[in-house]
């Protein structure tokens, strides 16, 4: 229809299954807040009389057809001048004429064609564009350019054995090399010097310190040789080392454009809210919401601040905040917490606390969120200390030997030892190992924030799981019927009745019963639902009552205590009940057995009630601690307590209620069914489907350390060869120039092969 009108039929020729979901149904006033001038100002990047530029994040973007559709917005809507999609970031940049079409209309159009922009409170905060990557690539480019030119200009020196007939040619080459090496030293090696200096100021010798020392000595001696005219120096090897290290750093710095690792409550909260003022509805930004104001929350909208219910039937889904996955029914005058989602009709609330002071947002006032995680130093840093010690003793030993035999050779030998024994191969093996592992984890849908997370995963002893949404699959509930078995016709009636309701239990019941062989759905004659209690439906030939025990008026109430039972009465005869249990992610039981075999201690912290206790005991065994009705603050405290016993804790959770615990844990993994969608601040984001591979992931992270170790031994062997030349005072520039790339390239190759091979063996 819409596509056809605008000649976008070719859309379907591009991809076999474009999978567009025309979500035509949305309350038209939902985006009304986008009319507010101050909100528009916060969202748009550029604004003038006839042009407005805005960038939206569209989590639904998933295929090439999406790009086509989004980039052809100007053919659907008159006012759009240009739209450009960025697939990896799942963003679209739209430039439009505000005199023809409003921002609200654009958002509504996007929502209509199935790409509802994710606009949250966070978007209102000023954006800072990161130029970090740009600078890294530029550094790499400069270092690569200078290195390759220096290498080329050094060839005559290598092949002639230091004798070039043409007058002045050798000197010219040397001076050009000197000039080319300066940008590498100043621009390229800057980050290494900065890191070394930071370490020294804290009193730590990190890996950058001996590298910085080696660079200073290499360049210093080379400059001295060139200026005094008695040698060619080692600038070819020196720039080469810096270039390779920059490649390593860039390789390790893998980023996922579409994923954000540091979300806080602002990323979840709506930007605008409907306020009732003088009996008139008005849309204001959430940030301006004040105590005492009356707000209107419609179906599927989130409550932005703690508030008291004034009017309407509140059926609040707190799954986001507490992990409890059944909506709670609230009465007038009761307090509703921010973060809950209304299911059902519109409700009116009086705000009692400002959004930033709410129950859930207070979690972010905890110290954990203030400081960045105090990451333990990588294991390569202590190694570099030993390395430095050994290096200095060799240098001193060489100096003493030559002091006895030929004092003139002391300085050349000592500098040669320090040049050749630079621990850059150790740094290279670590950066390339972890960089490649990041990619392999990413391919397996575990997205790590940075490389140091691999090391923290390898150290895990305790694994704490959240229940709802983490180890259970909220999409598929496990539905079991108990009672006199229902005929196919009866099932059809129940299904039809359940389909009318939006309650979570009804919808899981309906999706369980819905099958293809149902004929035309029976005509509905009467339907009434008491929110949170049950429903009555009359249709051709049957009267169906579904709901809790008290609602259906069942005499036998032995199961009435568990809230996830739906009792069924057809034509006033009690038939039995559906038990709707949590559906655990496939393979989770095997995972828990495997983890426990590998001596990991498992814990479960659930914000939900203890209805699932028996099932969980079966999965985790009798010894694993299980806790229910846990608040977000308690989760955080529990992890802290474990850590105080010097245990290394990994938290696996989802939702905002785990945000504090994820932050506090040594490794916080957020489980999400769609990695590009929302997940709280964490160290890693895992696709829910691969949770059962967690044991292999941990194994692999541990193997990573061994791989670095193997490569370290190899690089030591290269160093032994190099040092043996150096202590004899025979380190010709050509030897250094051969050893340097040979060691670097062979280490990079070995690392890549090993990481891929181990990954294959671990089934990743």
């Amino acid at each position: 229809m819409l596509l056809n009108e605008n000649d976008l039929c070719t859309y379907y020729n591009i991809d076999q299954s474009p999978g567009i979901k025309a979500k035509g149904k949305f309350v038209s006033s939902r985006f009304a807040y986008l009319e507010d001038e101050s909100i528009i100002d916060q969202l748009v990047q550029f604004r003038s009389e006839g042009q407005m530029n805005v960038t939206f994040s569209l989590p639904q973007m998933h295929c090439s057809s999406c790009i086509f559709l989004l980039e052809n917005l100007h053919r659907i809507e008159e006012g759009v001048t240009r739209s450009q999609a960025h697939f990896e970031r799942k963003e679209v940049f739209i430039s439009f004429d505000p005199t023809i079409i409003s921002l609200r209309k654009i958002v509504e159009l996007l929502a209509f064609i199935g790409y509802e922009p994710a606009i949250s409170l966070n978007d209102a905060a000023p954006k800072k564009k990161s130029t970090y990557n740009h600078q890294k690539i530029a550094e790499l480019g400069v270092a690569g350019f200078c290195f390759s030119n220096i290498m080329m200009l050094s060839f005559p020196e290598y092949f002639s054995g230091g004798e070039i007939e043409q007058q002045g040619l050798k000197e010219t080459f040397s001076w050009i090399i000197l000039g080319l090496s300066l940008p590498v030293l100043i621009f390229g090696a800057k980050s290494i010097f900065v890191a070394a200096w930071k370490g020294l100021r804290q009193g730590i010798i990190n890996i950058d310190a001996p590298i910085a020392l080696a660079i200073v000595i290499t360049f210093g001696r080379s400059y001295y040789e060139i200026i005094s005219g008695n040698g060619a120096g080692y600038l070819d090897s020196g720039t080469g080392i810096i270039f390779f290290m920059l490649i390593g750093r860039w390789f390790q710095h893998k980023t996922y454009d579409a994923i954000s690792f540091d979300r806080q409550y602002k990323s979840y909260f709506p930007l605008g809210v409907t306020v009732l003022k003088d009996f008139k509805e008005e849309n204001i930004p959430v940030t301006r919401l004040q105590k005492g104001e009356i707000i209107i929350i419609r179906n599927e909208e989130m409550i932005p601040a703690d508030a008291v219910l004034l009017q309407g039937t509140a059926n609040i889904d707190y799954s986001f905040v507490s992990g409890e996955n059944i909506p709670v029914n609230k009465k007038n005058g009761e307090l509703l917490f921010a973060g809950g989602k209304q299911k059902g009709g519109a409700i009116q609330l009086r705000v009692v606390k400002e959004p930033s002071q709410s129950y859930i947002t207070q979690l972010w006032n905890n110290d954990v969120f203030g400081k960045s995680k105090n990451k333990e130093q990588s294991f390569i840093h202590p190694w570099s200390r030993y390395f430095t010690a050994v290096l200095f003793s060799i240098a001193i030993g060489g100096a003493i030997y030559w002091w006895i035999n030929d004092p003139a050779k002391i300085l050349p030998v000592v500098t040669a030892v320090l040049i050749v024994a630079c621990p850059c191969s150790l740094l290279l093996s670590a950066t390339f190992t972890f960089g490649n592992m990041l990619r392999i984890f990413g391919k397996n849908k575990l997205y790590l924030k940075n490389a140091s997370v691999i090391e923290s995963i390898a150290k895990v002893q305790h694994i704490v799981f959240d229940k709802t949404g983490t180890i259970t699959d909220t999409g598929n509930a496990l539905v079991q019927f108990k009672g006199t078995s229902l005929s196919s016709a009866e099932e059809e009636w129940v299904c039809t009745a359940a389909m009318q309701s939006s309650h979570t239990l009804s919808s899981s019941l309906a999706s369980h019963l819905r099958t293809d062989h149902f004929k035309q759905a029976p005509e509905m004659l009467y339907f009434s639902e008491t929110a949170g209690k049950g429903l009555v439906a009359e249709m051709e030939g049957a009267r169906v009552q579904l709901g809790g025990a008290s609602f259906v008026d069942v005499a036998n109430q032995e199961h009435a205590q568990t809230s996830s039972c739906v009792f069924v009465k057809i034509n006033d005869t009690y038939k039995g009940f559906y038990e709707i249990g949590n559906h655990y992610r496939p393979g989770f039981k095997e995972l828990s057995t495997k983890l426990q075999l590998n001596k990991f201690r498992l814990h479960v912290l659930s914000g939900d009630n203890d209805a699932e206790k028996n099932n969980l005991t079966q999965i985790f065994g009798p010894r694993a601690p299980l806790f229910f009705n846990i608040t977000p603050q308690q989760k955080l405290a529990y992890i802290k307590e474990l850590q105080q016993k010097h245990q290394n804790v990994m938290m696996v959770g989802d939702g905002l209620n785990d945000a504090g615990a994820l932050m506090q844990a040594d490794t916080g993994i957020a489980v999400s069914d769609d990695a590009a969608r929302f997940s709280p601040a964490c160290d890693a984001i895992m696709d829910g489907a691969v949770l059962n591979k967690l044991a292999s992931f941990i194994d692999y992270a541990k193997a990573g350390k061994n791989i670095v170790m193997i490569c370290f031994i190899l690089s030591i062997m290269y160093n032994v060869v190099g040092v043996s030349f150096a202590v004899q005072g025979k380190l010709a520039p050509i030897v250094a120039a051969i050893l340097m790339p040979a060691s670097s390239i062979s280490i990079v190759l070995l690392v890549t092969l090993l990481t891929s091979w181990v990954a294959k063996r671990k089934g990743l």
């Binding site: 070719t10 697939f87 990896e88 043409q166």
Partner: protein, 61 residues
Amino acid sequence: MSALFILIGISLFVAGSFLAAFIWSVGNGQFDDDYTPSIRMLFENQPKESTTEKKTNQNKS
């Protein structure tokens, strides 16, 4: 052999201008998105035909 001095100068100048172009393109954001443009080029041959069709459609309605 003295031609070598000039040639080295020229080669460095040419290579240097490529480096400058590279740095400029990095700063300009040309390496920010390495996926979407590859898809976008597949759509490019279409606009002409569709604008004429659009006109005829508008005439009809």
